[in-house]
């Protein structure tokens, strides 16, 4: 790692990075900075403010932070990310990777195939599938459970979209952890098992220290993706009465439906800051863990 094994040299390395960076500069950094600038204006899609937008400083930010609907939406999003990504996708993904690691043959292929299928189906299609599953009057789930008229999407909107997103995104975590588990030498696990360590103990002492970096990558990416996931809109439209209005749906409503592009841009930047906070928290958490282990290692092997 980190060694220029192929003798690439600085010049070639720059040449390798440059095309990606050029494209990113034009089609990512530039519009992103522009969007952040728009967040400081009262710019709208139509009307007088479209013809002549004014810089309003931080008004959009203070306005959003005072809007109870934004704060509700923020809280819902944190629950959504925590429930569906951190607990749901990472948890289920790891469990699947753990259980399937020793298996081969059709069972593993079928499980992996189905989990991956739910990841790669187009999001436009997926919305329909889940709507057909959860609908109050004609949904398949009510038909199966013999609970006609049970309004899953209305009575448990947040839970519905959390479960939906677990279904949607577990594949990525499963694949990542499957790869990570390859780094854990089976002999170490075997030794721990023979020494009488239970599964949780094996995970804590043998597995997690070796896959910490993968956990970090995994949590960073799935949190970010889930924070920006618009697909639940197809399922609940943010309703009923905003009870599943996560931030991307809130931005959509503000920017597209109400045409308040300035406010929408400001909220996008707030989402970026919140993601940054999450990332720093992950880094701190996993770094802190390493220090603890170093301390533990210095004090002799754990019992």
């Amino acid at each position: 790692m980190n060694t220029d094994a192929a003798g690439l040299g600085k010049g070639r390395a720059v040449a390798f990075v440059l095309p990606a960076l050029a494209l990113i500069a034009v089609f990512l950094v530039f519009p992103a900075l522009w969007t952040i600038y728009l967040g400081l204006t009262d710019y709208r899609l139509t009307g007088l403010a479209a013809a002549n937008p004014q810089v309003v400083g931080l008004d959009n930010y203070t306005g959003a932070l005072e809007d109870p609907r934004f704060l509700t939406s923020l809280w819902l999003t944190i629950l959504y990310v925590g429930g569906s990504a951190i607990i749901g996708q990472a948890g289920l993904g790891f469990t699947l990777a753990w259980i399937l690691r020793a298996r081969t043959g059709p069972v593993r292929r079928i499980v992996e195939g189905v989990v991956l299928l739910s990841w790669i189906l187009p999001s436009t299609v997926v919305g329909f599938l889940w709507f057909a599953l959860l609908d109050r009057d004609e949904g398949t789930l009510n038909a199966l459970l013999h609970t006609p008229g049970f309004a899953w999407l209305l009575d448990y909107p947040l839970l519905s979209i959390i479960i939906f997103n677990v279904w949607r995104g577990t594949a990525f975590s499963m694949m990542l952890y499957a790869a990570a588990l390859e780094n854990v030498p089976p002999s170490h696990l075997e030794t721990a098992r023979l020494a009488g360590a239970s599964v949780p103990q094996q995970l804590r002492d043998v597995v997690f220290p070796r896959i910490r970096r993968h956990i970090l990558t995994n949590l960073l990416l799935i949190s970010l993706w889930t924070f920006n996931d618009f697909t639940p809109f197809v399922l609940t439209g943010g309703g009923p009465e905003g009870r599943s209005e996560i931030l991307p749906v809130y931005v959509y409503r503000v920017a597209l439906r109400d045409g308040q592009l300035g406010v929408g841009a400001a909220i996008s930047f707030l989402i970026l800051l919140i993601n940054l906070v999450f990332a720093l928290a992950y880094l701190r958490l996993l770094r802190g863990q390493r220090r603890q282990q170093e301390v533990a290692a210095a004090g002799g092997p754990p019992a």
Partner: protein, 272 residues
Amino acid sequence: MIRHVLGRLTATLFIAVTLAFFTLPMLWLASAPFDDTPTITTSIPEFTLRNFAAILDNPYALGSIRNSLIQGGGAAALVVALAALAAYALSRVRVPGRDALLYLLLLLSSVVTGTAAMVPIFELATRLDLIDTHLGVILVVTGGLLPAAIFILKDFMDETPTSYEESARVFGASPLQILRHIVIPLVRPGLATIAVWALASVWGGFLFQFILLRDPEKAPGSVILYTLYTEGGAPRLELISTFSLLYSLPVVAMYLFVSQRYGFRFHGGIKR
């Protein structure tokens, strides 16, 4: 021993439940397109192929899948090529602050893929004369996907051992030869996985495709899927279900192809 058996049993049960959970929502896609009068309930269909005839009558349906292939395939190829080069260089050559930079780009990508960025994106495309072109869509979505692709691939490259590269170098191979004959075969499953991921991400995208394209002959399937409604916004289920199925097939086919050919996973073929 008992604990082992119990553990095995729990694992099997867990697998069965997981399988049911992941399969259940997809059943509708298997039944409704063949149903004479599809509703949103999954049921044994009154078998018919009429819905397929109806969707083929739609003047844009088949063409839109071709457009999706152009845009999705183009973006996937561009993402894989650019991200692989960048990720390899970043993995092997020390650049101070590269992790922070990568994460910053990742954060910015979340701004650009959101609704609020549509005006900057649209204006940019207008000035560059990219409106109503496949290329415009490809470049815009590639920009949004690249940071995550580089991030994942760099991790992946960090994991692959450098020993092969070193020995090849000892035998006098040039850096580009090493890249072509050693590194690429080694990371191929990762590249294939990123390609499918990029394709799938573009496949379902709607908003940017919609605002960047004008001619419906160029619209991808995700946009056409949204037109299968009536004036009052009621979905035409017979068309939507059938088109959903047809539209999902290419991604599934690509996934099957890739997993057969290269393996669909985030690690190389050789362990350290």
